[in-house]
Amino acid sequence: MVEYLLGNHLVQSGKLSAEQLTAVISKMDEVRVKLGLLAVAEGMMTIEQADEVNRFQATMDKRFGDIAVEKGYLTEEQISNLLKKQGNTYLAFAQALVDENLLQLQELEEMMDSFQQENSFTKSDMEDLRSDDPDRIVPLFLPPEAMCFKDITGVLIRTMIRCIDRHVYMGKAELGNELSVKESAFQKIAAFSVPVAGYKAMETGLAEEDGGLAVIAAAYCRESEPLEKEDMLDAAGEFLNCVNGLYATSLSRNGIDSELLPPIFFEASSALKDTAVLSVPVYARGKKAIFIIMGQE
């Protein structure tokens, strides 16, 4: 996430063009290897073990390394060494900018300072950002009164990174009671056996904003061409079902049962109203969609 959050700031400040940012991120992709592949290449895991961990990732919202440790395939120390080899995203971004002669490190640090000021981030927030860990970054973009939704937002971001675009990022979320959205897909997570953050049920949605929903839908279905609107909403509903399912699994581990209802779709704009409506801008391949969470009493 940090590469786009900071990269967009560089573009807006006139330090980079949008094309240069895309080129830098492509360069990062060329050198970054997935953790599982790295573990196999280092002889720490077999291909079968890595495949098994990947399969487990589809059923639970956990990181590759955490599952591999739980299953006894890797130790914490091995994970730590692999992560060092894989490299920190922020450092890789900085390295790519310097390698391409687009920015010197001193300039980058100055831009980090202006980014911090612009977003009213603290030093600790900036450390969280540099970590590129979604668990640490998501809370920076939620209003304090919406922290009860950080877990499900975290599940969305991690699932998007895994299934849609590893460079996904988010914007500042807003909490209210009403929201107007363009075409959208929604799914209700109903009947919590124990209220979650005071809510008896939640409904999540994904709405189009600036091409982001189209990107999410096509990437989820592994389609290279844009989908027709009806198919796009259907695919977005399926993706939402995966996100909500992973969230429901995490609730279930804490003894909270729930039920996922079939997704519903709105082909035209709609006005939402509920006790709490959180809108989270999410960007896939640089295109914006809105993730919506509605808490229901």
């Binding site: 495949d51 990947n54 399969r55 589809a58 059923t59 639970m60 699932t159 895994r162 299934c163 839908a217 989820y220 279905c221 592994r222 989908l227 009806e230 198919d231 259907d234 695919a235 509903g237 399926e238 993706f239 079902n241 995966c242 909500n244 399912g245 992973l246 969230y247 429901a248 699994t249 279930s252 049962d257 729930s258 996922l260 209802l261 079939p262 997704p263």
Partner: protein
């Protein structure tokens, strides 16, 4: 080549499964968009294997599986569902579902599950 019935309310999910299964030479005998249609098509087409979503309107995947198993005890059914349905998945396995795949899945997982259920045919 086996005859496979896909039961899923999502058109895109059916399309993804069709692409994977046809890609390894299987014949998609039919597609159903809810449980009721699934039961009707199973009786009509008598497929070698079924892929079954759980969360569907009208009749869900569990009720559909039960009805299919009452008609054909040997039916080979693979549940294809999002995570978070563990209690329903347990119900499905008790009712005789032979495999399950969690969405989002890799094509290899579908291919392996189909191979596994067809092995016993």
């Amino acid at each position: 080549m086996a005859k496979i019935l896909i039961i899923d309310d999502s058109k895109m999910s059916r399309r993804m499964l069709r692409t994977i299964l046809e890609g390894i030479g299987h014949d998609i005998a039919g597609e159903a968009t809810n449980g009721e249609e699934g039961v009707r098509l199973y009786k009509e087409l008598k497929p070698d294997a079924v892929t079954m979503d759980i969360t569907m309107p009208e009749m869900d995947g569990i009720s559909c599986l039960k009805a299919i198993k009452e008609f054909d005890e040997a039916a080979s059914v693979i549940m294809v569902t999002a995570a978070g349905q563990s209690s329903k998945l347990m119900d499905a396995l008790k009712l005789g579902a032979k495999e399950f795949i969690c969405k989002p899945y890799e094509p290899e997982q579908v291919i392996n599950a189909i191979k596994e259920v067809l092995k016993n045919k």
